[in-house]
Amino acid sequence: MTIIDRSAEPLTVYRRSWGDEEVFLTEMDRIFGHCWQFLAHDSEIPDPGDYVTRKMGRDRVIVARGEDGEIRVFLNTCRHRGVPLCRADEGNSSHYRCSYHGWTYTNTGELRGVTYQPDVYGKNFDKSKFSLFEPAQVDSVCGLIFATWDPEAPTLADYLGDAAWYLQAIVGKFDGGMEVAGTPVRNIVRANWKTEGENLSGDGYHTMITHATALELGLFATPKDLEKLSDVVNPRFTGRTVDCGNGHTVRAQRLPVEVEGRKFWGYPEDMWEQFERNLTPEQADLMSCLSVNHGSIFPNMSFIENFKTNVDGPDLHARYIRITIRYPISATHSEQVWFFLQPRNADPEWCRLSSLAYLRTNGPSGMFELDDTENFVGISEASVGDYARTKPVDYLGGLHHKLTPPEVGWPGRVVDGDRTEHTLRAFHRRWNELMKVDEAATPSIEV
């Protein structure tokens, strides 16, 4: 098979993509009907009976740990007449009992009880034909639980491909693993579900503008901060972006310093040895002197590990790890869910600082998020117009950037260059493939 690498070719996407209901409904079928979607972290349901309620596309699902310890996903609807079985965001239950006619299911999905069965359905009613509806495949990687409705979809490992290596570098480097710290925040974003995802795919170009005040107020490392960490501070941040295939992408920006050995600033120094042990040398290089590492798992999940400075006073720096997903609601509305992850058994004072680093910058009320959201909402608002929707967005940034030398050892198509639209092209090319958009019929402008 010949793989045509088109990452370095210009790409055009029409603005209807961010505000058209017909496009949206096609996405629900062609993308959310087939792709693996992130649901939960296994730390959220540690004990038998634990469940959380989540969504796959627009479908409500229950993510549950059965009495047998297995994790399963059920469509949150009674097989009988369609009433939701779980109404809470989270809980623990050995059975789910429908409030309408009382059909009762085990937390492994089997129909156990049918009210007045002999009277209503006769004695020979076969309950085994009425188990809860389940996705075709459920699997997890590094404790991150995913599911897909498509029985023909590749395995999760094949679906994630090279992206798993980068995910593992973030969530797989702690001896005790990670846990989601409490109930995720959820909010409505008045923007198309793709706007934040394409940004988090690897838009290193917007930082200095969108986040100008955050930089001004010291939340992003300045030369003054860096001079306290390293003797050699370079004038400019550098970064790489990665097209991992299947629409998954990563951006890694490094602090502009020269140091001996690896420095995992933002974590207590006594944790650093874990990272050297749990990561490959190439992954450890990726996480050393990290400014920010983020990316998107197609279609609607993003992850970020971020080094934030002066979060609770001068010189109080910390890294935090966050996962977000965006459930589609309509062409111009989405629901965002925020997972804040912490290493198990980490120093409580560092955990507090990491939590503040998250909340005050890229948490739901954080300064970075505040300014980002205004852009995302604006894109959807400005894309619904009947003229606007026919106009292109041309992804031309970073076309001339060079491939990273292979000896660096990072998987995927890795490019040297931080201010680029390399990953945005990868995201939208995958979208085009699934949506059956003929790129030849929508040529980009010549550059």
Binding site: R87, A88, S93, G182, T183, N187, T210, E216, S365, E374
Partner: protein
């Protein structure tokens, strides 16, 4: 939540009127974006926390999770990371606040209880915050506030604020909010 020992005793009507005025003044300063004057009404070690709202699986469980916050701020962070955004030399790049969302507080059902310390009050109130972004229709968010307010020689001061939201899927024009 608040670790202050609380007696069941309500403060006098006079103190209630005093607190009503104090909370109205505080809301007026926030709504009119006079943040630096607002900051003068809070103690140096002031904390402002909003736990994550949730729908629990029991009517007897709290509808929030205090293992994790939605907002967790101090006087230092409010001054240095919130209010400075409107400083003359950088406000033009504070995109989300330029133009600003218009906020309006409606504070009701103020209950003032005395505590074991004579100059500290446990003040609870219901709050509805309306937010209007640009030409959008208004959105509202409601909550119960748990404040500790202390009496200082220069007047009443807010020592801490803990806010329990009613809405679990938050739909508001901007999430950086002084409830």
């Amino acid at each position: 939540m608040t670790s202050m020992p609380v007696t069941a005793t309500f403060a006098s009507l006079e103190v209630h009127r005093e607190m009503d005025l104090f909370l109205a003044q505080e809301a007026e300063l926030a709504d009119s974006r006079r943040y630096w004057e607002w900051a003068e009404l809070v103690e140096d070690d002031f904390t402002y926390k909003v736990p994550v709202p949730r729908t629990p699986d029991s009517p007897f469980a709290p509808h929030y999770d205090d293992r994790v916050m939605f907002i967790d701020e101090s006087k230092w962070s409010l001054e240095n990371q919130w209010f400075k955004r409107l400083d003359p030399d950088i406000y033009e790049l504070s995109w989300a606040e330029n133009p600003p969302v218009r906020f309006r507080h409606f504070v009701t059902s103020i209950r003032v209880r005395t505590t074991t310390e004579s100059d500290r009050y446990d003040v609870r109130s219901n709050v509805m915050l309306i937010g209007v972004r640009q030409s959008d229709m208004p959105k509202y968010i409601t909550a119960e506030r748990f404040d500790i307010i202390v009496r200082r020689p220069e007047g009443l001061r807010l020592a801490s604020r803990w806010v329990v939201l009613d809405e679990t899927l938050i739909d508001f024009p901007q999430l950086r909010i002084l409830l």
